[in-house]
Every structure is written in structure tokens, then in C-alpha cells.
Symmetry: C2
Subunit: 321 residues, 2 copies
């Protein structure tokens, strides 16, 4: 499939990032010529999605290969480990531009491999619940969880997309990507997933990941854990699709993954429209941790790890990077 | 406690309904002089909350005690059974105005009794997750689940209020009611509840109900079922607080409760601000059903029914009306 949606365009002297904050209303690119500008785009979520953040950071170094660039980019967002993985690769590389281009090209290939492995798990006609955005927009192209759905589209599948409060990536990005490609999509609020499961309107759940600990515990967009608990109650498969660059084998389990808290303004309203009372105290954790025991399988570019544990993931990880 | 927030004001020749669609920005009343106007206010959610809907419908009949008024009001919303309960009482009454006033006065007294019974279940310093709005705004005054919280406020409790997509009653109404009364309130999106439970930041859950079947299965605002599943996983008490007018003993279990589907526009954005792509297919079930086995106890004006079953609820119900 052609990579029609291009969140990241590398122009050698500059990086063009599709400003995902403006979707689905406007298709507009931000031009970055410095590492600082790339770090701002990551922090402010013009570009988001763990693999896309990794690619953007790599190009940030390619634009401005100074020591301080690594620090600036490393501090842009704390949870997605792909960022640190990409910076580490860039640090070791001699030709920074060639390495950033390689990271980008590999991510696209990796996503297609994830899609091919994952599609084998998807039954014909499956009604697939997905969460946040894990599509072309979250990666160099194709996508992780949504990439699996793309790769399985000939099976007559349909998607249920949760809006993904507070930042609405499911609404603004996933529903939009599905519509762009003619994949049938039902759009719901996050709290409707349990009801649809109880009415047997969902066959499986597939999500992406921002960081996977050595034992398989998975940090992903806030709300993911709840879907895993619901899937378990309804005996539905719960799949995580992510590249090996999302694995953090320095971390034993999910309790050690840092969880970003983002600004209150994301929760109290949207753009100009506010619905919470002025002065209310807000919590805004951007991620939660799904314990490995709730994950049916993790799909990565090397294949599928059923019922992930440290022991089952170890062989994959040790040869992965 | 004085009933500071007045969602329903009866003026003998007219009914004044606080337009809850405009909260928390504006305090503005709608004047109703016909049953039609009251039915419109219920359908369009100017007044909402199962007990408040019952009271408003009763006053609708008092304003215009015609046969057709019963039909018009009965068709305004399908799930909350208090509506049908109130219309039935009004049909049997000779003095319609006196009966509507009695329904209103009794609801306030009933809520205070629920509060007193429920408060005994709340530990000192409890961090209480609640959902949607079940406060003064949802009733004749005081509230059901939020009434229990009000009655327990001297115990140094705090509230975690979920915003309650799509209609945002938790944000616009519950967080606002808490702030009006100086009850400490953390405000979150619905999908953060599981994360906070996993971090041991929630001690119990208490919600209201729109209809309780004879076996204790409970229809309530969409998303309630998910909270019950999460509470069970984390071994947290999950309480339902509701007056006996919410019980429907004509219905054996929750699968028979009609679930209202509301307009797509509630899901695709808020007021002028849209975030879902144009043309997307939307689901909007307004309620879900929590099976009795997930409910720790039901609190009503006659007391507390632990681990509700048809057998345990029967004595309560048969003497209740």
C-alpha cells in the first residue's frame, strides 16, 4: 500500500512535520531547522506516537548534531522509549543524516512486518477495537496496531475507534485515517467500549505501546489498561503491536516506567471550548501500565510472542537491536 | 444542609427548570407552562437525572392534567424508570398539584435518608470515585450517590469526579456542585479511573442508577459498567445509591432494560467545537447495565442491601411503593 499519509517529511536541510494538533480540520506542515524546533514539536504534540517521536528526534540530531541537541530532545517527552532508543543510535552513528534516514526507512519496514505478522491473528470479519492513534500518523508510515488492521483489511474487518480523551487522537487521527482509506469505522467515546463488549459487538482489542518493560508490562495511552481489564472479563484477545525499539529491557517491570503528567488544560476542555469549572483540580496522567498477564500476545517485527513473560521475550530482545 | 442548588422550582402556574445544558457557565431557568414544554426539557436534557426527571414529569401533569400529557411525557426518555413511576402516581392521584408537590418533597426526604444510610459505609478520609451527576441537580435536592458523599463530608472525604463523556455531566455538574459546597474534588477523564485504582488512589466507587431490575442489575450512565469491572479487579467497594422509585420489579434482569441511543452530535464534539471527522459513523448508547454480581451494595431510603440479589431485594421492593 502506498504511504499516503506522511506525518514526517525529510528534506535534508529541514524536517517537515504534519501538525497533528490541527487534524482533521487542516493539513498543515511545520518546518523545523533546529533540534530545538523538533523538541518543541514533540513536547507540544505536533508530532506524536512513540515510533514517530523516535524518527523525528533522529532527524533533529541530523539537523543539528551538537551535544546539547541530545539533551534538549531527550527532555521533550518522558514515557515513549523510542525517543531514547533513537537518540542512542544517533549518538553512535558517524553519518548522522544517513542514520536518521535509516531509522525512518527501517521503521516503515518494521511496521509492515508487524502488520504481516499481526494480520495472521485477525479472524475474517473481525470487529476490532483500537485505541489512540497507532497508524501512519504515529510512525514513519503504515502504523503498528492500526498497521495490523491495515494489513488485515482484505479480511472484511471493521474498526471501533475510541475517541481517546483527553487529547482525542482516536477521534481526530484514527477515525480520520480509517475514513481516508475506506476502512469501516464506528466511532465511540472511551467509556462505551465495555458496553459494546457486553453486547458482543467486539471481537478483539489491538493497541500500540509507548514502552514495554522486560517482563512485558506495557505503558500505553491512558485508558489502555481499562480496555485490557474489560477484554479479560469478556475473554477477548488483547494484542499489543509495537516495534522492538519500544522495548526497554533495562526496566524489570511496568512500575518503573515514568508516567508523564500533562497540562490541566487538555482535560478541562478542547481548543476554545471549556467544560470543567474554573479552578477545578485536575489530574492528567498521559499513560497507564497494562500488566503482561492481561496481554494475549505482543506483535513485533520478528513475530508474535504469546502470553508474554520475561522468559518468552528475552530471546527476541537480546537479538533485537 | 440547605438545598442551595435548585434544579426544579415549582411556582404553581409554571415550572422553572435550571437549564443544566448551560452549566457551569450560566445559571438560567427555563419556564414551562405546558406538559409539552416539560417533555422537551427532559428530552433535550435541560433537566436530567432519574429522580429529577420523575419530579419534572409530575409537575408536567400538574400543569396540564390531560390524557395526552401522559403520552407526551412518557415518550421523552426511555431508560430512567422514575419517569414512568411518577406518571403512574400522577395518574392515580385526584389532586394533581398536591401529588406532584408530594413527589418532589418525598424525593428530597428520600435522598436525605439515602445519604444517612450510605454515609455509614464511607470510611474516614475515603477517596471516593463518582460518576456522572447524582447530586442536587439530578434530584429534588441533596442527591443520591453525591448525596451520600454530601452526608459523609464531615469524615474528611475527597471526591474523584469522572468527566462522563459524551455529555460531560461529571465535569459540568458534579465538579461544579463539589466546588460550590467546598468538597475537595479531583477531576479526571473517564479513562483515568483504572490507572488511579492501580496506583491505589481510590478507596471506593459510588454511582447512581436510572433503572434497577428485580435481580439488582443496574442501568446507569454509559461507562458505569466499566467502573464496576475495574472496582472488582481492584477489590474496591462498588455502591449504587438510588431511591425505590428507580426499581423496576416488572423486569427480571438488566438485559430487558431499554437502552436509549442519543444523537451522534453529542459524541463528535461539544457545543461549537467538533473533533471527529465529518461523516464518521457514531454509536451513542446513553446507558449501560452493571450486573448485580459486581455491586457491593445498593443503598436506598430503607437501608442498605449488601450483595444484591432478587431474594435480598424482594422484601424492600414489595413494601416500597
Amino acid at each position: 500500500m502506498a504511504n499516503a499519509i506522511e506525518p514526517i517529511r525529510w528534506k535534508s536541510d529541514r524536517l517537515e512535520l504534519l501538525d497533528q494538533r490541527l487534524l482533521p480540520d487542516q493539513l498543515k506542515y511545520i518546518e523545523c531547522r533546529t533540534a530545538d524546533q523538533v523538541a518543541d514539536a514533540i513536547r507540544d504534540m505536533a508530532v506524536r506516537g512513540a515510533p514517530a517521536i523516535g524518527c523525528a528526534a533522529a532527524f533533529g540530531i541530523a539537523l543539528e548534531p551538537k551535544e546539547s541537541s541530545y539533551d534538549i530532545l531527550a527532555k521533550s517527552r518522558p514515557t515513549a522509549v523510542n525517543l531514547f532508543w533513537a537518540l542512542e543510535r544517533m549518538r553512535r552513528a558517524v553519518d548522522k543524516k544517513a542514520e536518521a534516514e535509516a531509522i525512518f526507512a527501517e521503521d516503515l519496514a518494521v511496521n509492515r512486518a508487524i502488520g504481516a505478522h499481526g494480520a495472521k491473528l485477525i479472524p475474517r470479519g473481525a470487529r476490532i477495537l483500537t485505541y489512540c492513534n497507532t497508524g501512519a500518523l504515529a510512525t514513519a508510515g503504515h502504523g503498528t496496531a492500526l498497521g495490523v488492521i491495515r494489513s488485515a483489511r482484505d479480511k472484511g474487518i471493521s474498526v471501533i475507534a475510541c475517541e481517546t480523551r483527553p487529547y482525542l487522537q482516536g477521534a481526530r487521527l484514527t477515525a480520520w485515517e480509517c475514513m481516508q482509506e475506506g476502512i469501516f469505522c464506528n466511532f465511540i467515546t472511551d467509556n462505551m467500549a465495555g458496553h459494546l463488549m457486553s453486547r458482543k459487538e467486539i471481537d478483539l482489542v489491538i493497541v500500540g505501546a509507548d514502552r514495554i518493560a522486560a517482563n512485558g508490562d506495557t505503558a500505553n495511552k491512558i485508558g489502555t489498561y481499562t480496555l485490557a481489564v474489560l477484554a479479560r472479563r469478556h475473554a477477548l484477545p488483547f494484542y499489543v503491536a509495537a516495534p522492538l525499539s519500544t522495548f526497554d529491557y533495562s526496566i524489570a517491570d511496568g512500575s518503573l516506567i515514568p508516567i508523564e503528567e500533562r497540562p490541566a488544560s487538555e482535560v478541562t476542555g478542547y481548543r476554545g471550548q471549556r467544560w470543567a469549572p474554573e479552578g477545578v483540580v485536575v489530574r492528567n496522567p498521559a499513560f497507564d501500565v497494562t500488566p503482561a498477564e492481561l496481554i494475549t500476545a505482543i506483535i513485533c517485527e520478528r513475530g508474535v510472542v504469546q502470553a508474554p513473560t520475561r522468559e518468552r521475550l528475552q530471546p527476541l530482545i537480546s537479538t533485537g537491536v
